[in-house]
Symmetry: C2
Subunit: 532 residues, 2 copies
């Protein structure tokens, strides 16, 4: 079985071939009008790591590793700068040991060891963080990365309540494979789905593929169990509760600084059999946004309501480059969605949207193909493959990334203008130009969650510094415009300067005190979210 | 203008007349087969309070009061034992001063004064707590109750995002009156609606009248501003965010121990014009529960999906006493609800429910009467008037109360059996018998929120002690069965013993540390939720 690549998205078999690299270089050369040559990807034998500063005690040795592959593969997440550094053979700060506990008792044992050795403990799920959330802290303190990958089972299924007890280390596909025989699904499909874990989704408040209503993993957590240095933090299985501040909501978004989530009871659902979808063209970005606003506020709760700006629509959904596309989708395990999509399309057309009646796809059976045709299907395929695309472009000197936020509708058009202006200005200054596109990944009655993608041609070897400058401009503009520094990518280390501004000051005191109370030595993911 | 009664639910004009009392006594006499005589209600001149132990500084005197009416009216919430004590002229522990700040600056000034005087500060919204949440703590420390009633304005309306900035002290009816001219509504109607406040809803995680989907006030908070001794805790207005643990979710349910909520941006909505409703009879409680489970899991998201057991249906919805009734209602400001109610009724009938086609009421216009006819309308009227009923029965020696929880479906039938057995046994032991009924106030895909009502005939003067014994039996059974000690009534002081069991142990450490960080002197609502 292929193992994970130590630098690329996916498995070692997903690392680019010379042909793929040459093809990517050719496309970049054409796009930027200059000859760009590919660079050979790193191989493990080129990587020399600092000697481990700590050794696991004998009792833990059976599930701890410190060889180059394991340490290199746990040195980074999968952000742009993570991949640039890994591709560039830069591994100055690997974890000293990678632990692969197989049971909660082994998680406890590792944390005990970290406490006694005063080592930092970095929880690691699928390793897909794009915000530096799994990167070891710098400094002299030894670092143990705790990979939950061995704890990957669905332990119990409760058909009556439609809930399942699931270990935190399971990755998306395995989770769905284990639920499928029961006719159930979590239906939480972030773009990182293949290589992100349930525990990772929970501690980063992951946003799922649903565009409206319950989509954040927050809404699917029925109860959660987290190991902390002060003992197990476990909530009751409850459909709802009003007993004090929610203990689960303090775990959600905690990014590993309070403890390590080992398992959770998750709300699951029947597999959808009724589907309806339509891709609606809009003459302007603004008219598409107005349709998304009105469809969401009508509480039709479409599963999908993604607006692509003309640039995104061209690149990802076969658009003309002049029109925006609103991808609308409904799904249900229980009843036909005809009336709901009809109402959504009616609203879209009233806002100037164009879609033929024959392009509205409705399936009242088990036809999974609905939602996989035309512009809707093109967008879907593009979404799934996107994380792999970067594997082939590494080393070409390109500088590109995504950033995402949310904002209330009243501020939206001006927010979009100011963010685009700031990023375009930075792209011009840093790269001499570049492209910037936007889509809505999620839409709420009170505002959209816009997701921006930018790219430009940088200087080989200068990508990180150039990225930092553009990222800073983008983040400053998001903050100044009233948005959140992250809608679903989390804070990690990379978003800290802006999260520190966004967070209410007394909440900082409360969160810091809460951490200190359950992790008095500060061993858990130090530097993520807050300073001690 | 009539002022609030210092002991009864509602205004002084809602205090019972001798005729109302006599009528209530006659009904109780018939029911329990013995002659029960009414007792004269208390009047203010019968109340003598302990002298205030503290005087406000001159700068605050303009909005502080310490006369008997104000102090007596802020000594209790409106739980059964609160009303028994107030009706019985028992006011051993009133607040020393009641402050009525008119601005946030005055809230800050009162908190500063409390800190310098080492007084306890008890935040007070509408005073409808049924869990001892607004009762002054015992002991020698002076107590200042801070009544937010003067801060009762809708400050800003954002039509585009459908949100409004609202002061925390506003009571339900005034809030709706202020939103109505804008064509908007919060549509949060707890049973305490008339005398509960926005701030109170937020800090107690109030459950609204929606039976499914977004109903807890939690879901309607876009951002919140809370004054703490460590400064203002204010979140950004955001439709969604994934930046760390939600600061708002720590305010929600904090019951005044972290600060005083002064205002919030709330998600509001258009006033519904499309409605559909049906009251479905079920031969058994169990078959009605199965229908509620399947309707909720189908994600039809009815606004109402309240199941009444045969006893509740008889008392509140004109039922036969043999059948359970499921009250189903849909509403929308935007589109006809015909298809949705048709699907809900189809499911209900498949589960054995009986409803004639002509009894399904559908309005696709502005006919507010839909949902107010037949068993549905009878239930609605009964729901609204229920809090007043107790005014007339005080002093008769009755012992009665409600308690509520939530539980997953897999445990439900056995949970219901064990809770009913425990409470019936306690009623038998304490009162020689009594009645116990149940309804679902809210239903989730993973379980119901059952709401129990009990009553029996106690001994005049012994009501509190008898209530405690039954309440203890009920709460113990709820805990043992896996439920929550409260789904939407909050914790306060009365639920503390069971909340202390329910709360994850490390979360207790975290919450206590968080409180200490923002309220180092522990002035805010001491004894509520946690001990210092």
């Amino acid at each position: 079985m292929a193992r994970r690549s130590f630098w690329a998205w996916g498995l070692e078999t997903d690392e680019p071939t010379p042909e793929q690299q040459a093809s990517a270089a050719r496309r970049a050369s054409e796009r930027y009008g200059k000859t760009i040559e590919p660079v050979r990807p790193p191989s493990l034998d080129e990587i020399t790591l600092r000697a481990p500063r700590i050794k696991p005690p004998a009792a833990l040795a059976a599930f701890c590793k410190d060889d180059t592959y394991d340490r290199a593969a746990h040195s980074y997440g999968r952000s742009f700068i993570d991949m640039v550094r890994a591709f560039g053979r830069q591994f100055p700060n690997p974890p000293d040991v990678v632990a692969y506990p197989r049971t909660e008792a082994e998680v406890v044992a590792v944390l005990d060891w970290c406490a006694s050795a005063n080592a930092a403990a970095v929880p690691f799920g699928g390793g897909s963080s794009v915000v530096g959330g799994v990167e070891p802290p710098g400094g002299d303190r030894p670092v143990v990365t705790i990979d939950l990958g061995q704890m990957d089972r669905v332990l119990e299924v409760d058909q009556t309540s439609r809930a399942a007890r699931i270990q935190a280390g399971v990755l998306g596909p395995s989770l769905e494979d284990q639920l499928r025989p029961h006719g159930l699904t979590l239906r939480h499909f972030p773009q990182s789905f293949e290589y992100s874990s349930l525990g990772g989704w929970i501690v980063t408040r992951s946003g799922g593929h649903y565009a409206t209503n319950h989509t954040h993993i927050d809404d699917f957590v029925e109860s959660v169990r987290m190991v902390t240095p002060a003992g197990a933090w476990e909530s009751r299985r409850l459909p709802g509760s009003g007993a004090g501040p929610s203990p689960d909501r303090m775990v959600l978004g905690s990014e590993g600084i309070l403890g390590i989530v080992t398992e959770a009871w998750m709300r699951v659902q029947g597999r959808p059999t009724f589907r309806a979808s339509a891709g609606v063209n809009f003459p302007t970005w603004e008219s598409g946004a107005e349709a998304a606003r009105l469809i969401t506020r009508a509480k039709l709760w479409p599963a999908n309501c993604r607006l692509l700006d003309p640039g995104e629509a061209e690149a990802a959904a076969g658009g003309t480059g002049k029109e925006a596309v609103l991808v609308i989708g409904f799904e249900s395990a229980d009843f036909p969605q005809d009336a709901l999509i009809a109402e959504a399309v009616r609203i879209a057309r009233e806002c100037g949207g164009v879609v033929g009646d024959d392009a509205i796809r409705i399936s009242s059976g088990k036809d999974e193909e609905v939602g996989r045709q035309g512009s809707v299907g093109a967008w879907r395929n593009s979404f799934i493959r996107a994380p792999y695309a970067r594997n082939s472009t590494m080393g070409l000197g390109l500088v590109g990334d995504t950033f995402e936020t949310s904002i209330t509708w009243d501020r939206w058009p001006e927010f979009d203008r100011s963010v685009r202006a700031a990023v375009q200005e930075a792209l011009q200054r840093v790269c001499g130009g570049g492209t910037l596109t936007c889509r809505f990944t999620h839409v709420y009655p009170d505002g959209p969650a816009p997701y921006y993608s930018f790219s430009g041609l940088g200087r080989k070897g200068g990508e990180i510094e150039m990225w930092r400058e553009i990222k800073r401009a983008a983040s400053d503009a998001v903050m100044a415009g009233g948005g959140t520094i992250t809608h679903h990518h989390a804070v990690g280390r990379d978003h800290r300067p802006w999260y520190d501004i966004q967070r209410p000051a007394p909440f900082t005191l409360a969160l810091r005190a809460a951490k200190k109370a359950v992790d008095p030595q500060g061993i858990l993911n130090p530097g993520v979210l807050i300073d001690p």
